[in-house]
Symmetry: C2
Subunit: 463 residues, 2 copies
């Protein structure tokens, strides 16, 4: 079964049971764990008990949602009642929450079966998932490469086909980057669309919750379950929830904006080739590619950086007294954040409003934007600089977040979508960016493009 | 004529013309200017031209609103097209805006006649209106005392009966403090209720726009004209606009919360006596005084202070290179703001949400809160400490803002209402605090209390 949708159909047809799907997921996750290190904790007992209950309900003809009986996983930032939730940090090594995050609650109510907590970049503050305390997460396409981050375990376990969906969180690309590097779909919804209640915060105004899945339709089914107002989350929006199920009517006439600057610059040749092919696919489906002007994205990224450094240091400040508890990479970021002035942060938040208005003008001329999700395929574990081609090097973190980070500041929805493999056999990801709260158009366009691609029958070596 | 409402009635009856009212206002303002220094600029020509136009409209039976033909003034923070707008600062000494603030626009459209720009504390960053560049504004009740600030000229000109209404702005009490010290009504609406478009900012999240008037009903009429969404102001709210006209039905059964802590502590004896009398008046009108718990207000004030220092320094930072352009008092504040860390500011904004939730619990037990607007009557010009009685001294700025500042952070509407005179012949002000966007209840209760007070026939020496 290649998708959540296929699994849901098989469940309803009685071709498979929830317990069977759950067992298969647990076995797969356990089998590849020595290779991928994708999990920090497994939830075998709870998962099987839940699956049995869901089988009983199904037998009585009660199906909770499209997610009924579907094995999923949660990044270890989501609080899970009675199950250790550590953020892959030593700070919270013994932390067992007494309550579920809103996302965990909603997934359980919809019948999804959580089999475990996925490994990640320490405190969600990085892009490699190369964790100094719990070891690196590895990429199923090549275990000497990173899966991206911070939701690296979620990307790896979905790509390895252990679960149909794993939740990630995205502060500066942390869903889209592992999706791109692992060859999965990754959806970062609009700010306020999915509740952050019960998620250990990295950044109060940049954190977003969303799924990594094998297909775009699967992401849509998950968003349908998760979207909506939650009074327990200050940033939650009352904007009406859309119908996210992509309808199979093609994208003839859809105006796809191609940014004239920044997003198609300094690309690894394999990424450039894949984006070119994807653009031609869009043309062949009748979509209209239009060149659009965007503001100077490097400046938006700079604003996001000031806000992230400040807010992350404020969130974790109380813990910084004991420096032995942190990896060197994130300690450096926390230290930078503590040096920033309040006036810098206030000015950055003011600039953010202006940059939001300016960026949104792009949508006067198109319905969605199409960009690469990242300029390079997944780097090797430990690689601090990536080769953009011809020996042009860039810092790994800067390269990985280059196309993702601004979208968190802007609050817009973005969908990462696999669009090919590199000559080295690593996935390449595209990014669709939409208007605020218009996830429906993103998912519709993403599904149409996905339908047009054949490469995805390829499976990673580690499954 | 003692109120905007009486003047409006006289206009409609033909007992007076708009031109006559405007001339009287201009003459009064000019006559008392040497004593009060309430204005930075007069707008005689525009005002008279506008009044003539309004008389013509009235003669044709067209009355724009309750404010048609009513002379008003604007604090010098409101941009006025073609009229110097300086914020009482040397920085903007030659600043002539090319557009009107939203408030100026709306007032003009409603038929109010703006006769001039009122003097204020430098850059609206203080409570005395003792301006080092343009001289102190003086209190009409005693010209050796301050009118309060920062909207000191607005308080003075309304108290001196030159205009029926003057707009103020309130970041930490800057409408309510001059209202209390000058014996006028002052309304600080809910955050987002009145557009800040075209107002020179002091603080991006604490600034509020509102009127100073002679009566509560007059404030209601002005709010009715000004309330509503404005897309040009990021902080503007789409919450529905209420009907603010107080209905004369008394306040029997209204639950008036009396905070158990902070607000009735360290009061000047005359303020304590006036508040006691006001409480008894409320009882006699059938209202129910209920003791209510409030959070530790000193902590909320501390949060507000961090945010104000940070945001004000961010707003004016670019100008601080030339220190000769600033008074010593505000230079010290700007310098303090520049020393704060981004993490302090972020933490303060987080705390703000928590404090908002905690404070709002008070309204589970009452409809409005009744407190003093300030713990003392107006201090003398130059007085850096005020005597709370018996030689207990407090810094003037801290004392003046003590009961006002937290309400800006919380975003709640608050109405300052004169409630008596001190033994020294200076006004004393009460403060009503309401639920967010429930200005209607504040104005209703304020009008009922006002109707029960007789002292207000007293006029200040300078009129």
């Amino acid at each position: 079964m290649n998708s959540l949708f296929e699994a849901a159909a098989a469940l309803r047809e009685g071709a498979v049971s929830c317990v069977e799907l759950t067992k298969a997921a647990l076995e797969s996750a356990a089998r590849v764990q020595p290779h991928l290190n994708a999990y920090l904790a497994m939830m075998d007992e709870q998962a099987l008990a839940q699956a049995r209950q869901l089988d009983e309900e199904g037998a009585r003809g009660r199906w909770r949602s499209a997610l009924h009986g579907i094995p999923v996983a949660l990044k270890d930032v989501y609080c899970t009642k009675g199950v250790k939730t550590t953020c892959a940090s030593l700070l919270f090594a013994g932390h067992v929450p007494e309550y579920d995050a809103a996302v965990a609650e909603k997934l359980a109510a919809a019948g999804a079966v959580c089999i475990g907590k996925t490994h990640m970049h320490e405190l969600a503050y990085g892009v490699t998932s190369n964790n100094p305390h719990y070891g690196p997460v590895r990429n199923p396409w090549n275990v000497s490469h990173v899966p991206g981050g911070s939701s690296g375990g979620s990307g790896a376990t979905v790509a390895a086909r252990s679960v149909f969906m794993a939740m990630g969180s995205d502060t500066g690309g942390s869903i889209r980057i592992p999706a791109a590097f692992c060859g999965t779909v990754g959806l970062k919804p609009t700010t306020g669309r999915v509740s952050r209640y019960g998620v250990m915060p990295l950044d109060f105004t940049l954190d977003h919750m969303g799924p990594l899945t094998r297909t775009v339709r699967d992401a849509a089914a998950v968003l349908q379950v998760l979207a909506g107002y939650d009074q327990r989350d200050d940033s939650s929006s009352r904007a009406p929830v859309g119908d996210y199920t992509p309808v199979r009517v093609g994208i003839k006439g859809l105006r796809i904006g191609i940014p004239e600057t920044f997003y198609y610059e300094r690309l690894h040749p394999d990424v450039a080739a894949a984006m070119d092919a994807l653009g031609k696919l869009a043309d062949s489906l009748g979509a209209i590619r239009v060149p659009v002007k965007v503001p100077v994205i490097a400046e938006i990224n700079a604003t996001a950086r000031i806000i992230l450094l400040s807010e992350a240091s404020a969130a974790l400040g109380p813990y910084l007294a004991d420096r032995t508890k942190f990896g060197a990479d994130i300690l450096a970021l926390f230290d930078q954040g503590r040096l920033l002035a309040a006036t810098d942060y206030v000015s950055a938040q003011r600039l953010r409003r202006i940059q939001q208005r300016e960026f949104n003008r792009a949508f006067e001329h198109c319905d969605i934007l199409l960009t690469p999700a990242a300029p390079v395929p997944a780097p090797r574990i430990g690689q601090t600089e990536v080769d953009l081609g011809g020996g042009l090097m860039e810092d790994t973190r800067l390269a990985a977040t280059r196309f993702a980070r601004a979208i968190n500041l802007l609050g817009l929805p973005a969908l990462a979508l696999p669009c090919g493999l590199s000559t080295g056999g690593l996935p390449i990801g595209a990014q669709l960016i939409g208007r605020a709260f218009d996830e429906a158009t993103l998912l519709w366009a993403g599904a149409a493009l996905e339908d047009g691609m054949s490469w995805r029958d390829a499976a990673p070596p580690v499954v």
